[in-house]
């Protein structure tokens, strides 16, 4: 299994169906794209995330009908600090797609996907709990794994592995 070289940039990937359709839908929403290790990543501008997901979910020929996973990566001390990661799956196309939204450290918030996939509920609560990213429009955004009166967000990179003692 030799490594294929990574392909980066919207220009190089605009033939791919998911990228092409998204560009045709709203070229402003797509910030960047990358194909690496056989996986396609599209970086979406924050204000368009929910609509882009709704489009990918419903567009015939794409049908990313299933939200597999939702998580976050903290790039501290770089800015924009947070990358919220969405792994979409299309049952009919047998394909995965990774969406990424980059959020600044001083206002980490993005629209919730619970209206599209009710299953996003617990995943978003987990990201809120462990990273402190807020999901706007979430029906019940509160801590899920840590106790409700906990201080800080443990998976942030400036939170020590041993915790505060």
């Amino acid at each position: 299994m030799a490594l294929d070289p990574a392909i980066g940039g919207i220009e190089a990937l605009k033939q791919r169906p998911a990228v092409a359709r998204l560009l045709a839908w709203n070229a402003e929403a797509v910030k960047d794209a990358k194909h690496d290790h056989g996986e396609l990543t599209i970086v979406i501008d924050r204000p368009f995330l929910r609509d882009a997901c709704a489009f990918l979910q419903q567009e015939p020929g794409l049908n990313f009908n299933f939200l597999s996973d939702l998580t976050c990566v903290d790039r501290y001390p770089l800015e924009p600090r947070f990358e919220v990661i969405y792994h979409l799956l299309s049952h009919s196309q047998k394909q995965r797609l990774r969406l990424k939204v980059k959020l600044e450290g001083d206002d980490p918030s993005v629209e919730s996907l619970t209206s599209l996939w009710p299953g996003a509920n617990l995943f978003e609560r987990e990201v809120f709990d462990l990273f402190g990213v807020r999901f706007l429009g979430h029906p019940d955004l509160k801590r899920v794994l840590m106790p409700e009166d906990w201080d800080g967000h443990p998976l942030r990179k400036d939170y020590p592995v041993e915790g505060y003692r």
Binding site: M1, H37, T41, H87, R96, L130, R143, E148, P154, V161
Partner: protein
Amino acid sequence: MSASGFHGMATLDETADRTMILNMGPQHPSTHGVLRLLLEIDGENVVRMMPDIGYLHTGIEKTCEAKFYQQVVPLTDRIDYLCPMTNNLCYVLAVEKLLGLEPPPRAQWIRVMLNELTRIASHLVWLGTHALDIGAMTVFLYCFREREDILRLFEMVSGQRMMTSYFRIGGLALEPPLGFFERAKKFAKIFPSRVDEYEGLLTGNPIWIERLKGVAKLSAEDAMGLGVTGPALRASGVDWDLRRDMPYSAYPSFKFKVPVGSDGDVWTRYVLRVQELRESIGIVQQALDGMPEGPIKADAPKVVLPEREKMKTQMEALIYHFKIVTEGFAVPEGEVYQAVESPRGEMGYFVVSDGTAKPYRVHMRSPSFANLQCLETMCKGRLLADVVAAIGSIDIVLGEIDR
């Protein structure tokens, strides 16, 4: 319930005069671990349900960031303690994808075989405890008899019954010992008749049928929206199995059927898992029949630990060994999402590398975490006693929910 402020515990308030809040768990025997359910009930009917989780949260994802890539493998066992091999496999596949490393065929076949044995062991615990919850005690003893045989096989290969950590990045830890395959063959031969035994106790049993049929229904649409995967999704009529539809490791070489149901009730989930037991033992049998010969580790001296014998005779091997153990090995920058079909559904590992010897981020998409969300939809408007059947039927493991 007025437990507010007590160590930040979650609370729920009544929405109507006639309802009351019932606290179920975290030490309730039928919650399969430390799941706490806050139930709003109207008489015996469930109006609302809120799961409260996090009692087993140990910060495994955070711990991974402070370990070398090879040191993460033992942590993956502890996520879902009923299927350690599945977690081992998913993690090593993700890192191998980042490294561009392909283990030799023999290693891949042994991985598949052990994964199917893990599926059987996990389903046996599910069947035993599910039946126990509903009141059929005998099945539990039969199931654990066969599970013990599988755990002995695991002990042979890895020295451990449960926390196996047997897979390594680039292959396996050791060649299986003498007598292992004979023992596995013996087990594969006898197991189908044992499944008949379980079915003899349950499938035709009128009490069992009454408690399961038509209970805790979940439509395909709800299941997809709520992120449900695995047998619970297939029971709702969605024909989707990662082993067949997005194959990994050596699965393309195996022939097996994916049982799919349509009713989406507890009964269908039971029937599918029992059929999966039979399919899995079929895969084990195929692996035993066609097991390829050859090495069990990839030829990648900078990543895979050298043979013990070589270390004593070759300078190079000794140096590599020292370097891997003390400094780890650098993994090229990048990110991958690897998913496998665990006994509970889609187990996914999202690994981000920043080019160093320690992962920048490891995220586990655990099937139980997503599957837990369908519980309220299943139980709303149903009797309290059905909640127990519903929890058993989605087969959750709290270790992987809380991580």
